[in-house]
Symmetry: C2
Subunit: 899 residues, 2 copies
């Protein structure tokens, strides 16, 4: 329909679908105009003109201005005014407007068309000399700055100087004469700065302003913004030229912005603010305080109703919450902009659910409109962004967003203090260089955790996510002095007991106490989740290591546990010494005694978890980490023994000598066990082949716990998972051994237990030989954390701190592959594994238990692959339910398109 080389579109020629060509603002102005809303007439120079401008060495396309003039003539005809006409002058705004909103990044010129002649016409027509000079000084300043490139502060200096001389503080206190003088001074400034006078021809003004808007597409802040928001650089901006309407012509004039529903809560009521006798920039400038839109209902019920009706109409038309700009000129309402309204997570959920109730949108649409970050806001306490913005509060330091949610508390520097204060009811943030298993008691008692070192898989991060505690990890800028009990960032120093706030969703640390918005698992969320469940194909499980998390997971809708890490139980304070005894045992008898003690505790753990899961399947991963993780830190031992050795040599003393000997023995043990690359060392199934006793004990604990519950009439479905398999023989050896243990327990207990044996697929070779592995494995669970590490050869601990950030910045990788599955590499291996595994065993149960199990993009991929379930942190279960539903709905769209 549209000629290919058409570059200028009257509002009557456009519509909302033409965003590519007209930009968001232009398309919506056209749409509003065409459905009969009061929009000041105007037209849009399309983005193709901008592209041509850049292709043509920054020259306006030939003939463009002719098209502009023709369009302008139509506007003149509509309004009975003329551009540059001294009698009835038409003034226009020239605004940028790209396909994607880039608020404030590009330039705008208002009141364009003023010169000495048209100014006189404006005075006469408005009957308001002060208004006209005010409009003129605004125009000269904006134009002088944006089009002519004169520093804005030069103009502001003149304005301030006048105010100083007149001893006033507000612009509004200046008289018409003052403003006239200011205009003259502005024009003089332009003359000296540019060496030429201010352009008098409105058409020249217009042409230069159009060029300036095109230029602003490539200004520094626009480029940075696009990189951040992943907006392409080559799509260009449109330019909207529209007749000016004035909200500052008197008390029957005004201007404002509003949302059709409250963007913070989602409440279905007009939400916004306005100012009478003002121009748009005054609302933003903050010199006068705008009034809530509800006041308009009292002040002018007719206007309010007209505006409210327009809002309703636009909502019905766009089927979404709208963000509106309006101006009232002499009692007449004009719409200047409309777009879909940005909203908080809670608002997004409420609006989507209520709009389904209002028959505005379908359930499917409601689901597709909610994002993971919307839900994340509902599931954790969060900082109040408005509070931060209003007060200009910036973080003291930033680190990795290691576990979502915000927390406020007193900084404490060791776990025991954290535990003591925490148990006494104090809110504390545990601050450590990095955490280790000894710190778990304090971590559990803290509101939040902050570490200076370690990545997203560091001990702090893993434990925090597991327990749903907000955590900022690897905060490099932080110096933690646990002896002086203080942290410092540059010159700022915070002592123990001083309050800090952390935002684990963004990795930010703040000085002092910030207000928190509590999580909101309202009725709307559960309605939305029910809808999600009705569409999704993938099941959703949770990663949970203890009864508390298991219960939390069920509450969030988990349909089983996809990963229960048994070794986390080993780190608990009362277990660790027994685990160490087991590791350091010199005889088999000692080792068996330690294992027998652990059996009792582990069985109790599993009973609790099975009870919480009440018949749902529970995948239990047998011991995975290298044993040296359960022993004291090597470097600490080096330091301590060096100190003790010197003490013994200089001071002597039998007691010191004894301690030295004990520490040296431990050092020797740790030295013998430590590894160059523990991630690739003696762990997982390898450990079970070398030391079969531990997994035999664990299997017995699992099945004895299961038997006990079954005898009590409960249902239990344990799935025993053997980690880190790289060849079928590893699985075979261990599984055969454990099947024997299982048969023995079944025989002893005299009950049938519906257990399965399976494996993680987390090593490339396992994926490559999955067909062989599925001869033994009854289920696969993709451990995509380790699979990503080995497929890329990236140690997550090292990569995230040292180069992954840069990789994403330089677009070496499209995203952090530890957050979103790398389809080309890791995904290819998963596909091979699915084909191999299901080829061998068509009913092979397949799931994912890496952290990708809670990432929407990765969930979409799992859906495509045909997995049976995803498993993620309890706190991401609702997000996973949403993403699973979206994945299923995407299929429908594809089917529809395919048809």
């Amino acid at each position: 329909m549209t000629p290919k080389n058409k570059r200028v579109f009257l509002f009557s020629e456009g519509n909302a679908t033409m965003r590519d060509l007209l930009g968001g603002k232009g398309a919506n102005l056209a749409e509003m105009a065409n459905i009969g809303l009061p929009v000041p007439p105007g037209f849009t120079i399309a983005t193709n003109a901008c592209t041509e401008y850049y292709a043509n060495r920054q020259r306006l396309p030939a003939g463009l201005m002719d098209e502009v003039k023709a369009a302008l003539a139509t506007v003149e005809g509509d309004l009975g005014k003329k551009f540059g006409d001294p009698a009835k002058p038409l003034l226009v705004s020239v605004r940028s407007g790209a396909k994607f909103s880039m608020p404030g990044m590009m330039d705008t010129v208002l009141n364009l068309g003023l010169n000495q002649e048209t100014l006189r016409g404006l005075i006469k027509e408005s009957g308001n000399e002060r208004f006209a000079y005010d409009a003129n000084r605004r125009f000269i300043m904006m134009y002088g700055n944006i089009v002519l490139g004169i520093d804005k502060r030069r103009f502001e200096g003149i304005l301030d100087e006048t105010k100083r001389r007149r001893r006033v503080t507000l612009d509004t206190e200046l008289s018409a004469v003052d403003l006239k003088n200011i205009c003259n001074e502005f024009l003089a400034l332009v003359l000296t700065e540019t060496g030429e006078g201010f352009p008098g021809s409105p058409y020249e003004q217009l042409e230069l302003a159009i060029e300036a808007v095109f230029r602003s597409w490539q200004n520094e802040r626009a480029i940075v913004y696009r990189r951040q928001e992943r907006i392409p650089d080559d799509i260009g901006t449109a330019v909207n030229i529209q007749a000016m309407v004035f909200g500052n012509l008197g008390d029957d004039c005004g201007t404002g912005v509003a949302f059709t529903r409250d963007p913070a809560t989602g409440e279905n009521e007009l939400y916004g603010e306005y100012l009478m006798n003002a121009q748009g920039e005054d609302v933003v400038a903050g010199i006068r305080t705008p009034v809530p839109i509800s006041a308009l209902r009292r002040q002018s019920p007719k206007l309010y109703e007209e505006f409210d009706a327009i809002g309703r109409r636009l909502e019905a038309h766009y089927r979404d919450v709208m963000d509106l700009e309006f101006t009232i000129e002499r009692g007449r309402l004009f719409m200047l902009q409309c777009r879909a309204g940005k909203r908080t997570g809670p608002a997004a959920v409420r609006i989507a659910v209520e709009m389904v109730g209002e028959n505005l949108i379908s359930k499917e649409e409601a689901i597709q409109r909610i994002t993971a970050s919307h839900l994340d806001q509902l599931l954790h306490p969060r900082l109040d962004d408005n509070y931060l913005t209003d007060r200009g509060i910036r973080p003291l330091a930033t680190g990795l967003a290691a576990s979502p949610g915000a927390a406020v508390g007193k900084a404490v520097f060791d776990a025991d203090t954290a535990e003591r204060l925490g148990n006494a009811g104090e809110k504390v943030i545990l601050v450590r260089e990095e955490t280790n298993p000894d710190d778990v008691n304090g971590m559990l008692a803290a509101q939040g955790i902050l570490t200076a070192r370690g990545g997203k898989t560091s001990h702090a991060a893993v434990v925090a996510r597991g327990f749903g505690i907000p955590c900022v990890a690897g905060c490099d800028a932080l110096s933690v002095d646990s002896i002086e009990r203080r942290l410092s960032v540059g010159t700022v120093s915070i002592a123990e007991g001083e309050v800090i706030s952390i935002d684990g969703s963004r990795g930010a640390v703040y000085v002092g106490s910030l207000p928190l918005i509590p999580p909101d698992v309202s009725g709307h969320l559960s309605t939305l989740m029910e809808w999600c469940d009705s569409f999704r194909v993938l099941r959703v499980r949770a990663n949970a290591d203890n009864p508390r998390d298991a219960a939390q997971a069920v509450e969030f809708g988990a349909e089983g546990i996809g990963l229960c890490r048994t070794e986390h139980m080993f780190f608990e304070a009362d277990r660790l010494p027994i685990v160490q005894d087991m590791i350091l045992a010199k005889t088999e008898t000692q080792r068996e005694a330690a294992l027998a003690k652990l059996l009792v505790s582990q069985q109790a753990d599993f009973e609790g978890i099975f009870e919480a899961m009440d018949g749902l399947p529970v995948t239990i991963r047998l011991i995975d980490p290298p044993l040296h993780e359960f022993l004291p830190n090597y470097e600490d031992l080096v330091r301590v023994t060096t100190e003790l050795r010197i003490a013994v040599n200089t001071l002597g003393g039998q007691a010191t000598k004894d301690v030295l000997e004990e520490k040296e023995a431990m050092l020797k043990a740790v030295e013998g066990m430590r590894e160059a690359n523990p991630m690739l060392g003696l762990r997982g199934v390898r450990l079970s082949i070398i030391f079969p006793g531990i997994v035999a004990m664990q299997t017995r604990a699992i099945l004895q716990a299961a038997a006990k519950l079954i005898k009590a009439g409960r249902s239990v479905h344990p799935e025993i998972m053997i980690p880190l398999v790289s060849t079928v023989n590893e699985l075979k050896i261990v599984q055969v051994q454990l099947e024997a243990v299982a048969k023995q327990v079944v025989a002893e207990q005299g009950v049938e237990i519906p257990y399965l044996f399976g494996t993680m697929i987390e090593i490339p070779r396992a994926a490559l030989t999955a067909g062989e592995i599925a001869q033994y494995a009854q289920f696969f669970s993709f451990g995509t954390n380790d699979l990503t590490q080995t497929t890329f050869g990236f140690s997550r601990d090292d990569a995230e701190g040292k180069f992954l950030g840069k990789y994403v910045e330089l677009k070496v990788l499209p995203a952090n592959p530890f957050e979103t599955i790398d389809r080309a590499g890791v995904g290819q291996l998963m596909k091979l594994a699915m084909e191999g595994g299901r080829g061998q065993r068509p009913d092979l149960k397949c799931g994912i238990c890496g952290e990708h199990g809670g990432d929407p993009d990765s969930i979409f991929f799992c859906h495509e692959l045909g997995l049976d379930y995803v498993s993620c942190s309890p706190y991401r279960v609702p997000i996973a339910r949403l993403a699973c539903a979206q994945a299923a709905l995407n299929d429908r769209v594809k089917v529809t398109i395919d048809k």
Copy 2:
């Protein structure tokens, strides 16, 4: 031809191809009998009877003894003797004999068929009472031990007691009466021990003896031996029953063993020893000293010539060196066994080459008969096995065979001492807990290197292999005290200056000085290598990091360098401080200054290498290891700073304080750079993306060196290799940058340089996305060390010490995947990479530079994949040339079979 259930085969019914059925010994006895050699008549009970025996709960198959009797009847007919006949008694030997030789592992009974009646017949027939009683007491003892299960020492006790009473030391000093009494005492022992008398029926004796031989297939030592030699457990043994001939009937009798050529040197002359008037076991027992076979020529020229002729005939028949057993009974020669002779490496090469000259075998066969370990013996000094065996010398300790060859020298415990003594002409072995770059000067001056820690890729191992220095690494049992300057193993302690010997081919350490056999790169080897080169398709390159190794590689026949590791140059003593300055630079200027200094040295390195390679292609890998490898060890710094801190606190002193500050600064730097899993950290191309300066310098150094040589009229083919790529974008970013440097150097120098850019394929993701990567890479080099690490998720440093040994022992893996490419996993990725890479770029040059490049099995796989070349240590180049030829010859066999 053979009925399927036939289980007993007369020698006339068998031949050499029937090893599966008749075992090696039986098949060769049949073959010899059938070509008319003097073999005592007999028959073989086939392996299928043994399999049946075990399938049938260890009972002899029904009807077997009937078959045996029928065969025995034929033997009786041939000899005119009868089994159990008091007049002309036939005695037989009953010997085990599996398909694969298992020397001494299973049981044998001689002189079977003796009882009171036949004994009298034997006395009469032999006219030698003493001989007959001697035969009888041997029979009762062997039978009593093996068949009846009576402890051998009980019989020996009786024998010793008689000798004590008779005051003699040798069995031969006992009279006929003594022996008769001993026989009676033996029979009494059997009666008390078994409760039954010694079986008098020869057939009963025979049946029980056959069963005993079958049983011995599953005795403990046979099982262990089979596991070690990878002989299947289910193939069973045959039993050979053969008429006895006696070498101990008088001075015209004798027995001996011989090789048709010298198995140590390969010299073409009968080699062996014999004893007159003796039985086989006497030759082995060592009581009388056997005489060299050459003595027979003088003693009995006719017998010697007959035997020599038989040897020639068997060599011609089997087309190989033969290992023979013979007995002379009353001047008549009997052949009791023949098999292919085991030989040393030097002998194997000489024999193969000479046999081609004698038209016995083809060049192709000669090549196929040589193994890698044969060549390895020729290429390095080695210990004299005979010397060790003769003296019963056992290792003090064992570790990893980290670099082949043996060495003898004084133990020294630091690099500087090693360097000082080494330069003074002393032979030293450098003994360290583990080595680091500071030790390289001492390593180069040492004969051998011994470390207590570290795997086959430890610093010591890598450097040692690179320089061809024998090395035993990771010798756990060793305690190295570098302060007291001594090593200890258990209670044995060796001080500095005491001599030790190490065998880097087997990972053994010995006390004292052992004789070494020097390497032998004789004319035969070069003939063999020429033949190899005429058959092979794969090209062979070497891994060499310096001009010395490059020259060595060319001498061994390398056709280029497949891997030149540039960072090894950084470790040299004069470079390391500059490298550290570069790493720790606080400003860009400092960093550039350090790089400029390195540029000069690196250019000189490359000039030397290019010169040595004289026009052959040289693949240079840009910097690969993490930068912290060039800085001091973290734990050492922790120890030192702890000590210094205490010293400053207690004693003060500005000098100490200054040192502390310096060390603390270094500690902080190292702390900031060290990684949890350095193998998966900031190294390779990742380093080049974060710090582009180093590789830009290296590229400049390479191309400036190339330009200099080209200007001097030389030919140079540098191939610049970017390591550790996991995604095409990494390669693209770095390659684009380096291409710019290259163009600049070409422009500056004004000469064309035929350089290529390529990458290692050493990360699973690179293999999976090889098609994309080949858009940029002009060549691929498979880095199968790292590819194996990442595909399996094995850290080689950790795995080889901690679990890989056990994995191979338990058959979790068929072989150490770091030695032989894992075809199912790593091989699958290589195949995908070849398909992807050549699909994108059909002329893509592909090689391998992991250590697998020197492993024959892996070379066969590389040949199958269609690689262009393999690259290995200079000292393995001849082995690679051999394996490449064997791979090509295997193809021919396949083609022949396919036809």
